[in-house]
């Protein structure tokens, strides 16, 4: 599957998004601001994660009208979220023609045991992961891009850092193991041996690896990229800040110059206030989004 033309096209679009910022937007105006600021793609949804957290209730796929309006307005790729395991929401998004589907823990899961079998879709999928086993299971199901989950809507980078560090460390560990040890490791990770062997040989995931969940400042974006993320998703961080336009531009600059402190300083100036963040350790266990996904 990983060598098929179709899978190559799916990961190919993710390759094009590297070094960029994918921004959550809830309407046409926000989508325009994102595009003008230099977003590589937008994620169309009804409520940003911090509002989903605040409002409660069931969070579903966004309204088709909103997604379609955004698709008609911007020239950059448009992504949309489907609930975990909700393969018919995903089929609707495929029929609509979005460019990428995010099978996302930010929405209320539709299936508490299974994810969507993503191999049968023509549209590529991105899925969240907190560790290597979760990432490889999603890839085995057909995900063409992984994003570390972080804790969406928290404005707190601590979980995103934990997840990217965990995945990078687990990948490094595989590269020093012998063949027979990889079989045991595949069992521990709960992931297919074929993929475990691929990671051991290459030291990276077979699909692009992005970061999400809690990225609120230019320095946050640069931090996760220095830790190994190849691009970033910014959800509530932009449109819940004091000056979304300036912040969106600053995030784009930070994703490009993540290794250049002088440019990061420029990106960090005159930004207005960042979104108000949450202490993740104070969020009740049942309200954590990152634990959704199996």
């Amino acid at each position: 599957m990983y060598l098929s033309d179709e899978f190559h096209l799916k990961t190919g679009l993710a390759e094009m998004l590297k070094g960029g910022v994918i921004m959550d937007v809830t309407n046409v105006e926000q989508a325009k601001i994102a595009e003008n600021a230099g977003a590589t793609a937008v994620m169309a949804l009804e409520r940003v994660p911090s509002d989903i957290r605040k409002d409660g209730g069931v969070a579903r796929m966004a309204s088709i009208r909103i997604i379609r309006e955004i698709m008609d307005t911007v020239s950059i790729p448009v992504m949309a979220k489907a609930r975990i395991g909700h393969f018919t929401e995903a089929r609707v998004l495929e029929a609509l023609g979005v460019d990428y589907i995010d099978e996302s823990e930010v929405l209320t899961p539709a299936d508490e045991e299974h994810h969507i079998d993503k191999r049968g879709f023509r549209i590529p999928f991105v899925c969240g992961a907190r560790n290597l086993g979760e990432a490889l299971r999603r890839i085995a199901e057909g995900a063409a891009m992984i994003r570390t989950k972080g804790e969406a809507g928290s404005g707190n980078i601590v979980e995103a850092v934990r997840h990217i560090r965990t995945i990078v460390k687990e990948m490094k560990h595989l590269t020093i193991l012998g063949k027979e040890e990889l079989v045991h490791e595949a069992k521990n990770l709960g992931a297919p041996l074929e993929l475990v062997e691929w990671v051991a040989a290459n030291g990276k995931l077979p699909v692009p690896n992005f970061s999400a969940g809690g990225i609120a400042t230019p320095s946050d974006a640069a931090l996760v990229m220095q830790l190994g993320a190849e691009a970033v998703f910014v959800g509530s961080g932009i449109f819940k800040s004091a000056d979304p336009e300036a912040r969106a531009k600053a995030m784009v600059k930070a994703a490009t110059y993540y290794n250049d402190p002088q440019k990061l300083l420029e990106a960090s100036e005159e930004l207005g206030e960042a979104m108000r963040g949450l202490d993740v350790s104070k969020i009740p266990e049942g309200e954590l989004l990152q634990t959704r996904g199996w």
């Binding site: 060598l3 033309d5 190559h8 096209l9 190919g12 679009l13 390759e15 094009m16 998004l17 590297k18 070094g19 960029g20 595009e35 003008n36 600021a37 230099g38 977003a39 590589t40 793609a41 698709m71 020239s75 950059i76 790729p77 495929e94 023609g97 979005v98 460019d99 990428y100 023509r122 549209i123 590529p124 531009k249 784009v252 600059k253 994703a255 490009t256 110059y257 250049d260």
Partner: protein, 205 residues
């Protein structure tokens, strides 16, 4: 004056614009192309994000990615001028988004560009991601090539002394004019490891 350069083959530097996009894939493709033939002198590949980094290069590749994102960054970081100056004496190759940035005219929607080749391109002309494809294109020597198109533009018009090196469905997909070259597809993502496009660019250095 005697320097190490005199008895080693001169080392050329291929820059890859690394503002955003698949610049890593281009780095690998350049190194594969160099390894494919003993004719090539040794080259080094450098990521380019600033005017100073650009000035140190003998040629530049603008990778695939989002052309609007690259354009914003080129403008904000004041790199359009240095890029034009660079292109007035050194070769530039653009793939997909790079082709859009190098074109004279851009449509659907219109946007500024460097205008290094007399071509008009229409963005996302095949449609959305569902219309991305791997297809066999016809090269000028008749041999054909597997080409990866991702939300690709179409070259709607070529003018002046633009040479068409390959076409697909009746539209040019690989063209050059003087020292500059564009492809609307992604040879850097070739599954077969075909390096002909990058080899041609290396010969321009």
């Amino acid at each position: 004056m005697v320097s190490a350069q005199n008895w080693l083959a001169p080392l050329k530097t291929v820059g890859v614009l690394a503002l955003q996009g698949d610049f890593e894939a281009h780095r690998s493709a350049v190194l594969r192309a160099v390894a494919s033939s003993s004719d090539f002198p040794e080259v080094q590949v450098a990521e380019v994000r600033t005017a100073a980094q650009l000035a140190a290069c003998d040629g530049l590749i603008i990778p695939g990615g989002e052309s609007t994102t690259m354009l914003k960054l080129l403008e904000v970081e004041n790199l359009m001028g240095p890029l034009r100056d660079f292109a007035s004496c050194k070769p530039v190759y653009g793939s997909c988004a790079g082709a859009i940035l190098l074109a004279r005219d851009v449509m659907h929607p219109p946007q500024p560009s460097l205008g290094l080749l007399d071509i008009a391109v229409e963005r996302n002309a095949y449609g959305r991601q569902a219309d991305s494809r791997i297809a066999k294109i016809t090269t000028e020597d008749g041999s054909g090539m597997q080409a990866v198109f991702i939300r690709a533009p179409i070259i709607r018009r070529v003018a002046g002394d633009v040479i068409v090196l390959a076409d697909y469905e009746g539209n040019p997909v690989w063209v050059e004019q003087g020292r500059h070259m564009v492809t609307t597809f992604h040879p850097e993502l070739s599954l077969s490891g075909d390096t002909r496009v990058h080899q041609r660019f290396l010969r321009k250095l």
